[in-house]
């Protein structure tokens, strides 16, 4: 019988009336059973009336829609296991790592993206980090050696080996953030870059929360990025700190409910 159904409410009130009638009927029972019968009858009336009122209120507001809800619940909360990124080992070294995901072909970049893991990346192995995407041409402009964009990484003869900070406009690792340095070209669009967080999620422990640092030339790309992430002009340490301020802290896998 349903806890919120009319049958239960009616039954309760019928029993309450029966209890009243029976208590009156046997109120003057002779002998030693008189007092116990009276007490039992009165208590039954009290319980049934309170239950009757409670059931009506509960039916209206569905506080406890089922007997199971009244009796306690089996938790459906889950936590996913801590994940790993394929480049975790390289990222732990605090140097820039060249990142070559298959999706990068559609991004039309002047050079492969560079990843900079935060100093606390290895220490917090159970956490995922938000992303700062840096859209800059500074790789060429700032390099005293005059190397063309991308020469830094390839010149060191290593697919994913470390590159100096100078080749990517001097970004330094930022605590609690994975920095991705992108050198866009005229063919790069914000929409095409939408799959970057998901792609990066395979290779590094990142979330989909991101902020964009942008040089004036690439504001067009930043503004078209889906989801309206915070956009901050510049690519120096101050701009990096400002972008980090906009982002959540690195966190362990959250508790979840079925959606």
């Amino acid at each position: 019988m349903s806890l919120t159904g009319l049958p239960l409410i009616l039954l309760t009130w019928v029993l309450a009336i029966v209890a009243v009638a029976a208590t009156v009927r046997w109120w003057r029972l002779p002998g030693r059973r008189r007092v116990p019968v009276r007490v039992a009858g009165l208590v039954a009336i009290e319980v049934l009336v309170v239950a009757g009122v409670g059931l009506i209120v509960n039916r209206q507001d569905s506080f406890y829609p089922s007997w199971a809800a009244l009796g306690g619940l089996h938790s459906v909360v889950t936590t996913s296991a801590a994940s790993v990124g394929r480049l975790d080992g390289k990222l732990d070294n605090h140097a820039a790592v060249t990142w070559s995901p298959p999706q990068a072909a559609a991004w039309h970049l002047a050079a492969p993206p560079q990843l900079l893991a935060p100093p606390d990346y290895a220490e917090h192995a159970d956490r995922r980090f938000p992303i700062i995407v840096m859209l800059t041409s500074a790789g060429a402009a700032h390099q005293s050696g005059g190397a063309s964009p991308g020469a830094g990484a390839s010149g060191r003869g290593g697919g994913a080996s470390g590159g100096g900070a100078g080749e990517v406009g001097d970004p330094r690792p930022v605590a609690g953030v994975v920095v991705v340095v992108l050198r866009p070209t005229g063919a790069t669009t914000g929409t095409a870059l939408a799959d970057l967080p998901a792609a990066l999620g395979q290779d590094a422990r990142v979330t989909d929360r991101l902020a964009i640092l942008v040089d004036p030339a690439w504001m067009r790309v930043a503004k078209a990025w889906p989801g309206h992430p915070p956009v901050i002009a510049g690519h120096d340490a101050t701009a990096l700190a400002a972008a980090a301020r906009e982002l959540p802290a690195p966190l362990a896998a959250p508790e979840r409910l079925p959606s």
Binding site: S62, H124, R245, P258, S259
Partner: protein, 356 residues
């Protein structure tokens, strides 16, 4: 004896049984006046015991003094708790709960405010940080004590932060009404309390001047259960300049009260707002129990109306109705999600440079 203890309810039951037994025993020896008096006593005892149990569940009157209106005054303008040198250090990983009196200059409401300060607030490194903030709103009937006693918010926050699923966060637990039996739904009621102003203006301003908290919207969030869940979503949509995210635990699409200016049909109606006003760039976590008729209907309606730049994710408990058992399951997922959508604690010395 506390007003909200199980033992108080048990005592009420004992009184009911006692009066019942006396009535059964003395019926034949007393006159009509005595009989009527005893019956009245029994009815009153049953009603009082039921009221005690309802109060125990909702924490509408968490103490006898709250019932009599003679509550002891809480400090009005205490300096930052972390600066009090004589205080014993809290247990490792345990946050601290402090209650202040917040007199709202803008709203005129003058109510106690329970403040959860995370363990990190008191560490040497934490003393140099401004923390993100969550305002947690209670249901109706209810008080901030419902969050504290029925939902053990302090224990849950400690647990989530210790596990790294939440960043250290300051949590504010404001009253939403000066009158415990008046349901404001966190609105500025026509000719009544200005709860919306108190919650969204007075309390944040007090926090900014008395606590080490971030002042920008990207680090401010809202949550609540039942009526408080409506409050959290409604206030997020109405004040996107102050808050960036809200988590709703069994909330509704409308306030279910008369605000006095018909705004329950328009500006204080979430469904109306989401169909008549451009949506702000904010995020919502919307949770409900599938067998909670009203809240699931309202919550589903809100989720269906969500479109960019507003984003909404859902958390569904299959069974449990509109009960504390459901909200205890939702606390962890809701707070973890909120923390992942609020900006991090930042060094006090950091520049105030904002987004371009």
């Amino acid at each position: 004896m506390s007003i909200d203890g199980t033992s108080t309810v048990v005592l009420g039951l004992v009184a009911v049984l006692l009066f019942t037994a006396v009535l059964a025993l003395l019926w034949d020896r007393i006159r009509v006046v005595g009989r009527a008096g005893l019956i009245t006593l029994i009815v009153l005892a049953v009603a009082a015991t039921s009221a005690l149990e309802v109060n125990r569940l909702t924490e509408t009157y968490p103490s006898w003094s709250a019932l009599t209106g003679k509550e002891p005054a809480v400090p009005a303008d205490v300096p930052d708790a972390s600066d009090a040198p004589s205080e014993a250090p809290p247990a490792p990983g345990a946050g601290r709960l402090v209650t202040y009196q917040v007199a709202g200059a803008a709203s005129g409401m003058n109510m106690p405010l329970a403040v959860y300060l995370p363990a990190a607030y008191f560490t040497p490194a934490g003393r140099e940080l401004n923390f993100p903030v969550i305002e947690a709103l209670h249901g109706y009937p209810g008080t901030p004590q419902s969050w504290l006693k029925r939902l053990d918010i302090v224990g849950r926050l400690d647990q989530e932060m210790a596990a790294g699923r939440m960043a250290p966060t300051v949590v504010l637990l404001p009253f939403q009404t000066p009158n415990r039996l008046l349901d404001t739904e966190c609105t500025d009621m026509a000719g009544g309390p200005r709860a919306e102003t108190y919650v969204t203006k007075d309390v944040p301003e007090w926090a900014r001047t008395h606590l080490r908290v971030r002042t920008d919207r990207s680090a401010w969030g809202l949550t609540g259960y039942s009526a408080g869940a409506f409050c959290a979503m409604n206030l997020l949509l109405k004040h996107p300049d102050k808050y960036v995210a809200a988590a709703s635990l069994s909330g509704y699409a409308d306030p279910g009260i008369k605000v006095g200016d018909q705004s329950e049909k328009t500006t204080n109606n979430i469904a109306w707002r989401m169909t008549h006003v451009p949506l702000p760039a904010v995020s919502m976590w919307v949770g409900w129990a599938s067998d909670d008729k009203d809240a699931s209907a309202g919550s589903r309606q809100i989720v269906a109306l969500a479109k960019p730049p507003l984003t909404a994710v859902t958390g569904v408990v299959p069974r449990g109705g509109h009960s504390h058992a459901v909200w205890r399951q939702m606390e962890g997922p809701a707070f973890d999600w909120l923390s992942a959508h609020l900006a991090r604690p930042t060094p006090i010395s950091a520049g105030r440079r904002g987004p371009a």
